[in-house]
Amino acid sequence: MATDSSLSGAAVISAIKAAGIEYIVSVPDIVTSDGLLWPIARDPELQHIRVCKEDEGVSICVALGYCGRRSLLLIQNTGFLDSINAIRAIAVEYENPLCMMVGLQGKEADVLPTQSNKVSVRIVEPMLDVMGIEHHLLQTTSSAEAIVPAVDAAYQEDHPVCFVLGQSPGE
């Protein structure tokens, strides 16, 4: 049962669907495995595309966008950092919609990402800021309300957006 301090995976998935997203492109991440990725993989309403590396997913999502299809790239912070050049070129410079959801592997509980002792966690949001990418911290279930308007804006205004998971989603 979700509480005010928890992040409900079901609520996030519900918002993803409400945003018109049909495809989830992913590389597995322990932060999102149980609460998001396994339920998504079993969900007949979502088409799940497994990729070998995150920058493949950047291209696939943007190409789906060219076809008028909405998608979400579900990855780990390390994969996000590994894909910076693809995100920079294909989403930022080309002004394409790209919706990302990034789990923060290694983040300490009850600490803001930017306050983390882990470099790989601490630099994610500043990196997004440097690239001018709109981002939303999903910390509690109520914060999932940001998903639908942000995805709509990304596709209507042709820009990337990133949802940073402040904690591991539960049920």
Partner: protein
Amino acid sequence: MSDMKRMKRDAALKIIAEHVDDSLVVAAYQAAFEWIIIRPSDCNLIATGAMGLVSSHGLGLAIGRPDRKVIVFDGDGSLLMNLGSLVTVGEVEPKNFYHFVCNNGVYEANGSHPTPGSDKIDFAGLASAAGYASTDMFDDLDDLSARIPDVLSRQGPVFVDFRVERGESYPQDYGYMHGAEHRAAFKAALRAS
């Protein structure tokens, strides 16, 4: 660079262009600059941003538009940066996906230094092992003319080791490649058909 037999790239692309109708074509670097002159069309996409990602763009298009053939002109150096995409294509099994790797054995846009393993690597073998439905190899223009209709009529994913070398010189319009006008035209073409 090995002494492998190769076709002039532009001559080979011209042969393929004779058999391409409304297919979506995604192309990388040198092949891209030649292709957009050989087959000018708003159905061409050459804006793939970062090296290595042309195959993944093609896969996304093939998934998003299963009603259209998607032809990818990759580079050998480019594919080496994204070998995992072969496995992803093998997993998705797009029936409308035709993946040509313009294998010239060098990084032509960056000083023509040899690509790693250029005299050893078996790209078609890698694609076959990754799950492509069929693979082929061309190093002769007459053979290409004779057999390309069959290759393009097969059910995908199809992989072709396309052994080529530089032919005639073509303008390298990076401004067009990365410009907004090109992407807008491609998107409009997809919406219209």
